[in-house]
Amino acid sequence: MPEPGSRGTEQDTAGSAAAPGSPPAGRMTPKSIAVWSLVALVGAAGWAVLALSRGEEISAAWLLAAALGSYAIGYRFYARFISRRVLQVDKTRATPAERLDNGVDFHPTDRRVLFGHHFAAVAGAGPLVGPVLAAQMGYLPGTIWIVAGVIFAGAVQDMVTLFFSTRRDGRSLGQMAREEIGPFGGAAALVAVFAIMIILLAVLALIIVNALSHSPWGVFSIGMTIPIALFMGVYLRILRPGRVTEVSLIGVALLLLAIVSGGWVAESSLADFFTLEKETLVVWMVVYGFLASVLPVWLLLAPRDYLSTFMKIGTIALLAVGVVVAMPTLKMPAVTDFASRGDGPVFAGSMFPFVFITIACGALSGFHSLVSSGTTPKMIQKETQVRMIGYGAMLTESFVAVMAVIAACIIEPGLFFAVNSPPGVVGTTVEAASQAVGNFGFSISGAELAQAAKDVEEASLLSRTGGAPTFALGMSEIFSSVVGGTSMKAFWYHFAIMFEALFILTTLDAGTRVGRFMLQDTLGNVAKPFKQVSWKPGVWITSAVVVGAWGYFLWVGVKDPLGGINQLFPLFGIANQLLAAVALAVCTTLLVKSGRLKWAWVTAVPLAWDATVTLTASWQKVFSEDPRVGFFAQRDKFQAGIDADKVLPPAKTMDEMHTVVTNATVDGVLSALFALLIVVVLADAARVCIKAVRRPETVELHETPYVRSAIVAPAGLFPTAEEKAELAAAGLELASGRDRGPAS
């Protein structure tokens, strides 16, 4: 059964208003063949150099060439194929933004503005963390997965989810799973969202704690963001409502001042006051998380969000320019021995499946499906724009991930491993670390490690796991080589830490609110008052539960002798990929249900890959007999130690032995639960698909009926000749940024 609106396919090419002299739809001109051949050549050259160079250091330019060339080809050909043939986007069909326009949450938004919104919503700290951790296996495995993963899986998921949600008035992923698959799939999706939220928040908070412990500069400047945000909140609420740009500029200026003054504080007598232990920071994070989530949105969350969005866009643009100007050389080997041996200190396990779990954001991130369904569909002007916004924004995030790979691989590999290994592996002195890293096959002297810390004005860089400090080191290396030299290194390092901490703190607040909202909704079924989202005791109780849950994992992460990131990051990756499996299962089911079985592979193949990776990883995390990988093997090993009254390293006391046993049990149970959820969703989706193929007459699609669109707007960034003619015919000025059609 074809979808009602898919009559008149190929709409975006076979328009009647084709400009005179333009080539027949779908046929390429000699000029465009030449241009795209050149693009393909650039990408191929990049990959060739990456593949063939062994042992010598190569320029990051080749990595950029490989990635950008591949993105361009993927966007031009594969994404276009999906939008035309598979989704059959229809430019004559009105989107929810046009039909339900209320001037507030539903309104047709300029595609370039919406691209910015969508990108800012999907890209956070994730693409900066996973690729850094995965660099322990060398730059090649991570880069290949980031680029291939985004083209064939991540960007496809984002675009297809955006399309189907747009056809359903901006329904959320959970609602679509419930309506189109069934209550089982819907419930699994809900549990998955909640679980990933908790693990995500704990991991993000842990990154901050690891970056800020014993760092008076960092603690002071990040602490200052709170009064700055409060000031902005009051300014926007009371002094000059809605003047976002001016207050953001003031905020950014204050932020830069906070970074600079952090350096002064670190050298003053106040330094001791701002030098905090990890445990103290955990308490502060939990208190902050709770207070921030119960305070009114306007006071802290909204202004912090403006600040972090401005910083995010600005810094990423700056970084792209910095990488291109500095063109650093990659010092990390293409593939390290850890890739095959699976005994790396940053995270345990071999390349398959763990590189694909560690790098979620930037390649395939299930979380994006929550933005692609929900907010963005309510603002998109044209169905034809799903390619630019869904696929394009994800490619951009992937590019950020590639820059993170570069940042991690241009610093000395010895330094990389000293920073990213838990204390149980590298010890707590530079000499011990130098020796431990030497055993991995990378040489760096104790003096060099001490100098690296001194350059960025930190007491120590050892075991600053979590990716943020490594990324900051790489970024300060790049920026200081362009501006300021070594003397600016400390500033750029803390600038990068601030940049990540800013949006992690925003996510802690926003994520706690979303978790609370879900909990209120669920509890409301049992105890009525909870449904009332503004009922204060309900808000406090559910907030405390959510903060308590991520706070628990955060505490565990800090206290775990085996290293928190090492243990928790795989869980986060698995949870994120689980959500991707839900989204891809919904997309595949919808393709099958709408009579497009022959195109279902577009989402079914990435789904199969994602399920294989996630289930293999979960399987290993549960059943592996290697105590470094398997949680239960770890539990057994340490339990046996306790029974024999022996303390096993890296634990130092009997208490730590018990900690390991408890953590391993909790993590193991969670891994098993995630795997079970994936199986439930897949089985339920398969049932619905088989039924739809066998008895197509029973299929019920929940699509909003076709309404003709009155808006004229281009599909891509630049209008085609044909679109220019259409815009002119509709009497619209070109490139005014206001390509809206005559008001309906």
């Binding site: 919503a121 956070g124 993000l204 954001c361 929900g374 994520g511 609110r513 503004s534």
Partner: protein, 65 residues
């Protein structure tokens, strides 16, 4: 000069749209689209309503990892 002015206007347009500063103008234009004398909220009240709506449903404007 006109080119500089045009470029400035465009940057201003994007910044206002992107930051949400243009939301109030859009709301007023929408409310008065059919009836030029339709009552509208003041800017202060509108901005309050906008952040309070986010309070009620935190899923709007959510940020990913």
């Amino acid at each position: 000069m006109t080119a500089v002015r045009g470029a400035f206007d465009r940057v201003r347009f994007y910044v206002r749209e992107f930051s949400g500063e243009a939301a109030y103008d859009r709301y007023v234009a929408h409310a008065r689209g059919h009836d030029p004398d339709a009552p509208v909220l003041t800017r202060r009240a509108f901005e309050r309503a906008r952040t309070d709506a986010r309070e009620a449903d935190p899923r709007e404007g959510f940020r990913c990892c």
